[in-house]
Symmetry: D2
Subunit: 446 residues, 4 copies
């Protein structure tokens, strides 16, 4: 999610900014601009580079825009769900996009459908749009403010109208959202890594329960609810965000390296080499290596050319040993005792395959170290952990998992170790991370 | 370049094998299979995944195939140059593909054009085809052998006929070529990293001046010239090959890490962090960090979604600070003295941009360490170093370069350090690497 | 617009049926099927063959479907307007498509937007959807019936639900809609020419103000208003419909030939050859030739390969004589006195270009005969005649037009001649055609 | 086949010219231009509009060009056969394209392969290229002249070099080729209908055995053999050429109408309506109607939207009555005695389907009149009549055919009638048409 206000080539800036956010969603992309009261939109399924070309980009005129890359969290497929969504009306058009997930979307939707509303998508952005349209307030900003108050969940929204760019973060501070400064304007982005690429400088993060309004008179912030506090999704630190982003002022790569060091302290092992699972676990593996003194080696290679259109090997070919995506480097791991560092275990299928690859390549021992605590609870806030049935750690203890997946040893970081290593706190000293998927303590339920 | 003999789904195996070789060429891809005397071919410009889909792959029938990814070395563009090339004739069809570059291609081509031959491409493979067709020998293998003897340069060839797969390596052993074993057949590949992915095991490397013939009776090897010796391209070790490949039995990642360690010994520096230029310099940077005791950090991020169809920012946007491909991680490099490890300097444009990125992100000092000796001579053997004008080190000494590019210090590894760190030798004790681009000593000229 | 109920390959039947209706709209196409309560949809901009392929067609499962080709009448562009539109809801999904145009769409839309509805498209089908959703009736058929009563204009609608296919024609009978019989089911289509291609037989036309319901119990018809009468759009007979369709039981080619004969009676001329403007005026030209005894010749050729993606010649090339689409046949028209028969004059640009072509090819005289009366009034019912400024005959008399366009003589058929030649009447003897664009007498206003 | 010399936008002119020739081949298209000694080429499979877009067209620079649309005559598929073919060489590049077919291509090819030549395509153009390259003459024009003399068959060639456009017609005058004049240059085309569209005027036809050279000094013509005579392919008149073309000065539509009139004289019948098979038999049908006095009606409709990507109905759907491409107009043919006029019967499958369509639509009688004599012999000159097994009339007499195909009566025009109706003769009074497919008298064999 990336927005801009005040640059003559707003769509192009979105295009470059979105490239830094592509890891947050590969299923679709869209940009909406506005000029002279007319909203221009282009969206499509696939990667940014598949959706946009130069001609399209040039056709999106205007000096303000919002844009999005689509990450699907199951059951909500379909081209019509690619955002931003545009809502045209005589009273004025608006475009909306969001990150995260609402807990009460179905409830709000049902209530409005009973009152005659027609929904075209499964998107939470459309829920917000209907709330705004049904609001009895007369000022647009007040309509939005009232509507945001109805929402429960982890969310960051952007709303673009003919004259304003509005951005808001949920009262629990679950999802990241930051504001930056360009020479003559502002940018708003899910992750700070997008600032540098477009020549912007960080200004501030959007606070929990806060609404930012950018218009001809500059930037103006006001809370839509009081008493918000930070509960930034821990998985953003652990694997979702890009290593060069800062979340609540903490660099992600550095946090991950500290997670690796903490893990090495909590769960040391006698081994020859440390190997990270590419790409997201490299930082933690390097931290583990540094702390433990065991050398870091490139024992696994990810084939970066295996993209969306890659033809998966048939069952028959897989049985004949044809592999995909990842391969183990025999010259590195053969006859070695390997510590493999990964960021998380969901179903366990990936790590199981990696252990097989390493053993086939001649590894003597395989010790698994995970830089997150065991995933035991589902996430209603926008991370794709939908049912507890699919979570291995929700149904098995660590020793069972170790045996099932054929590891020589297994350890996860502790929740306390996570809190300490990341090191983000509220002013009252409480932890600034949501750890619900590890401990079942949901911020919105308390 | 990947070939297979003896698997019912030969084209699919090539498709998976080629994926491991995509880094060797992104401009085009092609597969030729043969069944019942009929050659089936599909080729196209772009990445493997852009050229092939499941339907096309299924249409390429037969249990033997050769395939290629195209790497252009300047001036030889055009779709018709995508290999393998197929030559149909009443006497029997053949397909040819190659890695590397012939020094005497123009001379051979001119002589044959004068004798009435028509060339359709700029490819060295077509030169070999015309030599074969004009040979007076009666046996096909003898025609090929005679033709190979006319060739001077760095090359690895594969020739597919209705009944045979022939592979050959130049007498100077400049380019890699290895043979592996499947359950019922053989594979031949430019790099050993492709064996693992298709479930094959390494058997042997093709020796300098050797020709391998695979047919219904198995594998048969014979020299086409005597007295070959290994002069494996040093740049394969330094940056071209994949880190999980073995070249002459030496793992590439391990060799690169040793290059980094050697560099740390030859050119130590007092600094806070070591940063590698992604992707090819990560191994050397980790080696440098280990040897020097300075921590390795992820100070540069490469945007992996910037692909072939990425729209480059206009001059105007670049001036406004819009960046591409690489970004520096402020949270990592700010207020740090940085050692940046890269594999080579050609024109110096990339490293100059990196230095600017690092300084803008707040680096206090930038020390550059290069894991190859200075590139001072052109390469006629298939690496894209065509003219000495473009080689910075051919025209400036180290101190000049340091100043021009704004480095706090600069050091390259020595040629002796390179020889020692890689550690590949002939049986007579001579170095097994071609170092012509560093010292001007061309193996084919001696 | 083509619908089907009761064929295991409903989507394929729509695909074939739509091909017969492609002349009614080339801007987009869509098919919706329903199976086990799930609506499957595929739509896109362009011709049917550009939007659908075999894989897509096979993915649209179910034994009932509605489909559409898009004809834009100005100002309502955009991919989101391609029909059928699908409206999903907990209470059950529905798909809607329509031909024609509502006069009171804006008024209905404004009223519902004020009540909080959000519109996603400019389509009249969405207006019907919102009316249905807001209806207080409990039975779906009653909701539809009530909603249809609110609509004013020329329209034919199809509504598909999980269990029913509903089709309706406006009370003034302005747009054609017919029902046919397959072995085990029914088809509904804008034009009867689609019956033959799918192996169906004509059963009945949908009457003015009538609603047809097809479900598991067969076909059931009931009026949604009383007192409807036929006012079939005269332009359907004159140029819009395909010559092999029957409108109100009258074959279109035959009607056009009678128009040509009537025109020859009303406006004879002394000439050497009769030439029709391809494709829609060929029938009338042959009628004119037969009645007048002047031979019919192929004096104009239309380039059938000039499609949507044709690159129009630049201004510079046009000035150098590069032509498009139509060319005159010198060998036929040179030194001849030509009667050119066309179906209508809107702005006059096409006929002006034709006259120039004929004179440049050596025609001695050019006499223009038009098989419609002069177009003097706009059409609010779905024919693309939006503003009277663009209608030449609304602003100039016949002699002025003749001079402006450089004709030797000009004649249109009379309104009385049109009525007589087409020959469709209501039971009370009143004319069964809408002639509003000729005489300003709008059926919905009386 | 379309060439141009002397227009700043040569590629664009080819693009427009080719559109008039698209009926001569729909399988591929290509344009080659030359500027400053560099040949630029773009080719592809499919229709012109699928192969070219504006960007491609603009990239083909130069003021001279040759271009081609591909018509395959069986067994010579493959993208590499799309013409023009470009042959680059140090001595200078050339591009070649051709219409027609060589009888002695295999023989010439075999002889040159034995001498070491490599052929890349099955195209006759490549045969000419190899002959030119092997010629011992020193002047390029002499090389071409010598090479043309070796060719036997029906052909028209164009050769483009850096400085010249050469065009040649076979000594038997089997295939059409005409030269026209632009303001500052010349165009050469397979059919004259392309002149008008690009603003050119006919200058002359290329004579049998003549070679035309266009260069900086203008147009120069010389025979490459003496004693040529016109034997223009009769099928060009009957169905292949476009009705607005002139062949040897005779307009094709007019010739076809005369064929219809002659047919009405030779084979009258008592019937109610005359119907032509669209598109190529309309002219003949109108001639038959005029001569006989029976009215011409549009009893068959061709669906013009059934293109290359149309999904053919499955066997199952065909059995259920789903039709393709052609439909009969019930409102026109029901209860009528129909004369159906078609241009030829090859296998008889199309006419059989038409007869079924007409009978199903209620025709009382179906009388078939064919505007060519019975096709009894194969064509080696470029018309797709490869084997006599496929020719119905080579294996059955007229009464057998009538019964097999279920006609009420059947008649073909006589060979004498054809000669008379077309009316093209040599100066010595001999017939100027090749009638070999009707009477087995091959011009190249005498």
């Amino acid at each position: 999610m990336f927005g801009i206000y005040g640059h003559s080539r707003a769509a192009a800036i979105c295009y470059y900014g979105l490239h830094c956010l592509q890891h947050r969603g590969q299923e679709g992309a869209g940009i909406v601009t506005v000029q002279d009261g007319e909203m221009m939109v282009h969206k499509g399924e696939g990667l940014i580079n598949e959706v946009f070309n130069e001609q399209i980009l040039n056709s999106l005129k205007g000096n303000r825009a919002i844009s999005h890359v689509r990450y699907s969290t199951g059951g909500d497929g379909g081209a019509e769900n690619v955002e931003p969504l545009v809502f045209r009306a005589k009273q004025g058009s608006m475009a909306i996009t969001h990150d995260g997930s609402l807990e009460n979307a179905d409830e709000l939707r049902d209530r409005m459908e009973e009152m005659g509303s027609i929904f075209q998508t499964n998107s939470d952005s459309e829920v917000l749009a209907h709330l705004i349209r049904r609001s009895m307030h007369t000022q647009f900003v007040d309509k939005v403010k009232e509507s945001l108050r109805s929402l429960v969940g982890g969310f960051a929204f952007m709303v673009l109208t003919e004259s304003q760019l509005i951005a808001a973060s949920d009262p629990w501070g679950l999802r990241p959202l930051s504001v930056g400064r360009l020479k003559d304007g502002y940018v708003v982005t899910s992750e700070t890594c997008a600032f540098d690429i477009v020549g912007a400088r960080w200004v501030r993060d959007v606070k929990p329960g806060e609404m930012i309004i950018i218009d001809g008179e500059g930037l103006h912030a006001e809370p839509f609810v009081m008493g918000g506090s930070k509960n930034m999704c821990a998985m953003e630190y652990i694997y979702f965000a890009r290593p060069d982003s800062d979340l609540n002022g903490i660099n992600v790569h550095t946090a991950r390296k500290r997670l690796g060091k903490q893990l090495a302290k909590e769960a040391p092992v006698d081994a020859d080499i440390v190997v990270g699972v590419p790409d997201s676990s490299i930082s933690a593996a390097i931290g583990y290596a540094e702390q433990s003194g065991i050398p870091y080696e490139m024992g696994l290679i990810k084939n970066k050319y295996v993209g969306r259109t890659f033809i998966q090997p048939s069952q028959e070919l897989r049985e004949q040993g044809v592999k995909m995506k990842l391969s183990a480097v025999r010259g590195v791991v053969e006859n070695k005792r390997v510590v493999i560092v990964d960021d998380s275990i969901v179903r366990g299928t990936t790590i199981k395959r990696i252990i097989t690859l390493l053993r086939e390549a001649g590894a003597l021992e395989v010790h698994v170290r995970i830089s997150s605590p065991p995933l035991q609870y589902t996430c209603p806030y926008g991370i794709d952990l939908k049912t507890s049935e699919e979570l291995l750690a929700a149904n098995h203890d660590q020793e069972e998992i170790r045996k099932m997946l054929g590891m020589d040893s297994l350890a996860h970081i502790s929740v306390e170790g996570l809190v300490k290593a990341v090191g983000t706190f509220n002013e009252d000293g409480s932890c600034g991370q949501c750890r619900a998927c590890f401990n079942g303590s949901y911020p919105t339920h308390s």
